[in-house]
Symmetry: C2
Subunit: 216 residues, 2 copies
DNA sequence: CTCAAGCCTGACCATATGGTCAGAATTGGA
DNA sequence: TCCAATTCTGACCATATGGTCAGGCTTGAG
């Protein structure tokens, strides 16, 4: 789409690099503000302040609040999907689903804001990513359901409804991001420690893997 | 708090009855609008329209947007807690936790908007119900953890961390309310049927109860 | 029936917010 | 160095929204 230097690598000039850096800073700030205030509660001014640039400059990079929001949501969606690769090359349910849980828990830990924006978007009826739900996500889901059904047919796990199993996986893992405030409050007001996170992961995996008969 | 007619039943006059009816209509409308648009995205005008009265009248019943929002959140919280009673009189984990799952799934089915408002509130850092989290919810949680730990000590279920088990219960059941749009989209764009809900309940119960070793 | 208390409402206001724009500052290739 | 393209910015605007208020309407106790 753009001229590049003779070398294979882009080798972006100072200008392009700065642009990308600014864009990332904006996305980062926007993700946080959208997560903490919701789309309606977020203000371009707040995002601009957090990103460290004047509001008018924000509009130079993202024409409207909605386009910025869309960029944030799409960014998260990409991370979501990428994390799901874990499940593909697995030999059986214990490794496959176990790895998927690990990956999703790690995302909840590292990108709680992204998870919250996603949750908010879906809760409000997916006004901007409805098409993704109907295409990419639907296909992805069908694919995983097929894998799970194969495992069931092979007698490697109990005959549970794959659809509802996926919902359980999403729900339990994302809960640690979306409700982290509640969890921290019940944890004495302190964030989960590394050990706490390990315990959480282990518990989720144990209960679910045993629950689908993939442990014995 | 108020004078009542000689009879035991309140027998509220026309006036009082109308007031309560209006109040309920407002709360119902507000719950829906807050759920669909978030606190920041919701407008008093929208709520008024949905409740079928002029905006100024809304402010006669609820002075500010925040006080109305607070009323909605507290209403949900009460339902939440009440549903948890199921778990108390149970003889063991299978019945107790099974009944709790049933109750929470039923709430997700009947009060999806309430669940969403709650989720949104917690996601945004619980600005209005932080005190509830630190008192009522913390106490409630401690009580249930004690019950679960007793069951574990008695060898009636596997030794899982009670805290994380509760999170799993909350996450899985509330997911059907908070993410119902996503679920419906993956269900071919149609709401879950009665049979679908039964299947969901059964699946959640089976996986979790088997997962905590309370089925054999 | 009377009338005070309670309920309802249209019109209005102050403010906050998303977005615009003209022009200044900077950059980097020629 | 020069200059066109790109990036940045303060000032500004139109609109939407939460909230107010003076006055009209309804209710029900006496």
């Amino acid at each position: 789409m753009n001229e590049e230097s003779p070398v294979g690598r882009p080798k972006k000039g100072r200008r392009e690099a700065a642009r990308e850096a600014t864009e990332q800073a904006i996305l980062e700030a926007a993700e946080k503000v959208f997560a903490e205030a919701g789309f309606g509660g977020a203000t371009m001014q707040l995002i601009a302040d957090l990103a460290g640039l004047p509001k008018a400059n924000l509009h130079y990079y993202f024409a409207t609040k909605e386009s910025l929001y869309r960029a944030v949501v799409e960014r998260i969606f990409r991370i979501w999907l990428h994390a799901a690769d874990q499940m593909d090359e697995a030999a059986g349910p214990a490794e496959g689903i176990g790895a998927y849980i690990d990956a999703k828990m790690e995302i909840s830990r590292r990108h709680p804001n992204g998870s919250k924006v996603w949750a908010s978007e879906v809760m409000h009826g997916a006004p901007v990513i409805q098409d993704y739900l109907e295409t990419t996500l639907r296909d992805w889901t069908a694919g995983r359901c097929a894998v799970i059904e194969r495992w069931i047919a092979e007698g490697r796990m109990a005959p549970v409804d794959p659809r509802h199993l996926l919902y359980m996986l999403w729900a339990t893992t994302q809960h640690y991001a979306d409700f982290n405030h509640q969890i921290e409050t019940l944890n004495g007001g302190r964030p989960l420690s590394a050990a706490d996170w390990e315990a959480a992961k282990t518990n989720v995996k144990e209960v679910i893997l045993r629950g689908i008969g993939a442990l014995d």
